[in-house]
Symmetry: C2
Subunit: 216 residues, 2 copies
Amino acid sequence: MTITITAFERSPDRGRGLARDMRVRWALEEVGEPYEVRLVTFAKMREPAHLALQPFGQIPTYEEGDLALFESGAIVFHIAERHAGLLPRDANARARAIAWMFAALNTIEPPIFDRALATILERNEPWYEQRLHSLELTIGKRLADLSRRLGDADWLDGAFSAGDLLMVTILLRLKGSALLDDYPNLLAYLARGEARPAYKRAFAAQLAVYTAASAG
Amino acid sequence: MTITITAFERSPDRGRGLARDMRVRWALEEVGEPYEVRLVTFAKMREPAHLALQPFGQIPTYEEGDLALFESGAIVFHIAERHAGLLPRDANARARAIAWMFAALNTIEPPIFDRALATILERNEPWYEQRLHSLELTIGKRLADLSRRLGDADWLDGAFSAGDLLMVTILLRLKGSALLDDYPNLLAYLARGEARPAYKRAFAAQLAVYTAASAG
């Protein structure tokens, strides 16, 4: 059955791989599943056809036969559950890898995403510096905890898992800020993620979409 | 095997059921699993023994034999996967229920939690009114989308699931604000959640902890 995902016709991140379709592309590349992409504009994301697939008008979505899914975390989990390579076989190790998926999305991503939004939407507000400082304090605490837990390991809990895949895509949003500078082990962790052939294929695919849109 | 979770010795929400152990208690009550609770102070949450269980120094944690888990979403999923009653048996319906779990935690919870934090931490800042307004705009959009999708249904996708359980615990944080007033179907949805016997038992259990701490 053909897998079809949705992605931005013209991603606001200019092809830097920060849009949430990147996670799904990477997961599909890790397990070797081909997929098709339907590009959507912001206007189209609020039309009934897209809202039927994604109640909050976001990307990505995932269609495969009768199944329609939304939420990048749920889509990555669905892929990981049905194919070898993204979740350990041992039941306890699998449960811990899933805990890292939720930690990435619910504990690490919110302040990092808030910071990204603030740098766009609040840059000219009188409180911008103070708000940025407060967000960066929160992010710094999370990174310190994450760095201590990762230690000298390659991945968060044993072999590379869907938890690492989500965590890497989230931490990549901090590249170019100074926030990761104090944590060489997190920088090396990100580099290990980016070096995976499946990551590179997924990154190239989403970049090609942006490049084509810009040339068009 | 005995299940042990952690919870605040003295919850900052004063027993209103908003701390994240409530989700885990409710899930365990839904599936009829007994559990023990180890209470922790904020100081204890930063000690090595707790950080070994929860890298970010939060509650709840979940211990069962050799397995130690963190992240409320992952713990609820673990319970739902191992017991009937919180996830549909049909594979596609199960995947959609999991999508609602991720949507609750990653799309609905962040702005609602940010608003709760802002009302505590930013109340005296010069930007408070504007920041609150901006957060409430975001929350309002999410609620409008959620209300439209729920429609006249009792639950988000067929029978009550772990997705509803998480969504209800998150929306309950808005009770007492005016944000839900425009959405009678969401208010009725919350009331259906609170009326479940398992919810009531879980709520009473967490309230008893707070009451004991206050009397002590």
